[in-house]
């Protein structure tokens, strides 16, 4: 029962389609992407700037987080822990003061200097993971200064050592860190499943367009994921 076929990609005109794909259910980790206060608390981080200059984004984005992303991740987290699946967190931000961890000539350093950036220092409250879904002491937290953890952490080596083949990916933003993570995992041969209603972009259009470009990853909602993985036995929580 551990191996199960799941639906994979939608038909592509003129191309062979991988309709379904067999995965080994226990070899799965939940990857919670950048659910930090700077991106989720309207009073902090990107919040005040969005409210002042981009009110439409502000309205859409923070309601999506409150109505589906946070509740979705809470359900996923409780479910994953109850089935013995690893939960792994990423946090993004400046790892050294004044962004000395960024190449000085790079657009990222320019963005960090600009004051309109969306990357916060490691010692700030913006950097902290939302308390409601905080990692437990035995769970892995990866600090990165890039969109995909494959570019600035040892995630590839860690996942291989942990025997993880499948990733349930949830968090922010659908078209930036979530998509970059799903793309780099899928392109390396993992089976990434983006849990779409537990992710948000700055607009519904960007969110949906991103799901439509899925390249070597697939998208499912929280209910579908819980349905598939319910085949796993419950475990005693640590």
């Amino acid at each position: 029962m551990a191996r199960t076929r799941i639906t994979w990609e939608a038909p592509r005109p003129g191309r062979f389609t991988i309709d379904d794909w067999e995965i080994d259910l226990p070899k799965t980790a939940l990857l919670i992407v950048d659910m930090q206060r700077g991106y989720t608390d309207p009073e902090l981080g990107v919040g005040p700037g969005l409210e002042r200059d981009f009110p439409d984004i502000h309205r859409y984005y923070y309601s999506a987080i409150g109505e589906r992303v946070l509740p979705g991740i809470k359900r996923l987290l409780a479910f994953a822990r109850s089935r013995g699946l690893e939960a792994i967190y990423t946090r993004t931000g400046l790892q050294l003061p004044e962004g000395r961890d960024l190449a000085p000539w790079s657009w990222r350093a320019a963005q960090a200097r600009s004051g309109v950036g969306n990357i916060f220092p490691k010692d700030s409250q913006e950097y902290q993971i939302v308390p409601d879904i905080a990692p437990l002491p035995h769970e892995l937290v990866l600090d990165k200064n890039t969109a995909t953890p494959f570019a600035s952490t040892a995630i590839d080596q860690l996942l291989r050592n942990m025997g993880v083949e499948n990733l349930l990916i949830a968090g922010l933003l659908t078209n930036v860190a979530v998509e970059s993570t799903a793309r780099s995992a899928g392109d390396r041969g993992y089976n990434p499943i983006v849990v779409c209603d537990a992710c948000a972009a700055y607009s519904q259009a960007e969110h949906e367009d991103t799901l439509a470009t899925a390249s070597w990853w697939t998208a499912k909602d929280v209910d579908e994921v819980i349905g598939i993985f319910s085949a796993l036995d419950q475990v005693d929580q640590p």
Binding site: F16, W105, L173, R183, T210, A212, T213, S215
Partner: protein
């Protein structure tokens, strides 16, 4: 020649960087998978030729990426890719694309010259399946101009990979092509918001041409 060029000038992204100082001498052109296996690539060849000619004229690096299996039989590819890549529907064999086949060659009009770097990869993103990072570093590159195919797959994956690692990436929208127009537009939008600059071939030649002429706005305008 160093100078300031418009960066995410037209982006509506809240975190856009409007202009950026770049060093033309540390700029390379990355030509993604403009190979014989897809006839559709013909549509972007003229723009790619204009870009390549500019880089050659100014003594700048041009790097050619080629996608395919590295080994016949695809046993080097990840399982889903080995099963489906360049395969028509039904019980029809996939196209054979590996080094040594005509399908795998870069199209004639853009054939790499002796002394230019050609990198073979067996996945979408060069950072996932080649040693490109070491080469870019050793060549001293900081800025990369991207053209090629397909916009939402190999170009997007590799360009994101480069932008994420700190390279200043310009994606040349009319020198990239995707079989699905919606996907082309999605990549162009997200990339031009969150990862780098998106420009037309004309804009790239004008911006970089200004730097080559040694009269960038930042110097011409003052000091």
């Amino acid at each position: 020649m160093k100078g300031v060029i418009p960066w995410q000038a037209n982006s509506t992204w809240p975190h856009a960087v409007r202009e950026l100082e770049i060093d033309l001498g540390k700029t390379g052109l990355v030509m993604v998978d403009v190979q014989n296996y897809s006839e559709k690539n013909a549509a972007i060849v003229p723009e790619c030729v204009r870009l390549r000619d500019f880089f050659h004229r100014h003594g700048l690096e041009v790097i050619y990426l080629r996608v395919g299996s590295l080994l016949p039989g695809r046993r080097d590819m990840h399982a889903k890719r080995a099963l489906s890549w360049m395969k028509p529907p039904g019980d029809v064999p996939a196209m054979v694309v590996h080094p040594g086949t005509w399908n795998h060659d870069v199209v004639d009009d853009l054939a790499p010259e002796p002394g230019e770097l050609v990198i073979d990869k067996n996945s979408s993103g060069a950072f996932n399946s080649s040693g490109i990072e070491r080469y870019l570093q050793a060549m001293g590159l900081q800025n990369l101009v991207f053209c090629g195919a397909a916009t939402s797959r190999c170009v997007d994956n590799t360009a994101r990979g480069a932008a994420d690692r700190g390279y200043n990436v310009i994606l040349v929208e009319d020198a990239c092509i995707d079989p699905v127009q919606r996907n082309h537009c999605t990549t162009v939008r997200t990339f031009g918001d969150a990862f780098g600059a998106v420009k037309t071939t004309d804009e790239v030649l004008a911006d970089l041409g200004t730097l080559a002429a040694g009269t960038p706005a930042s110097i011409a305008g003052g000091e």
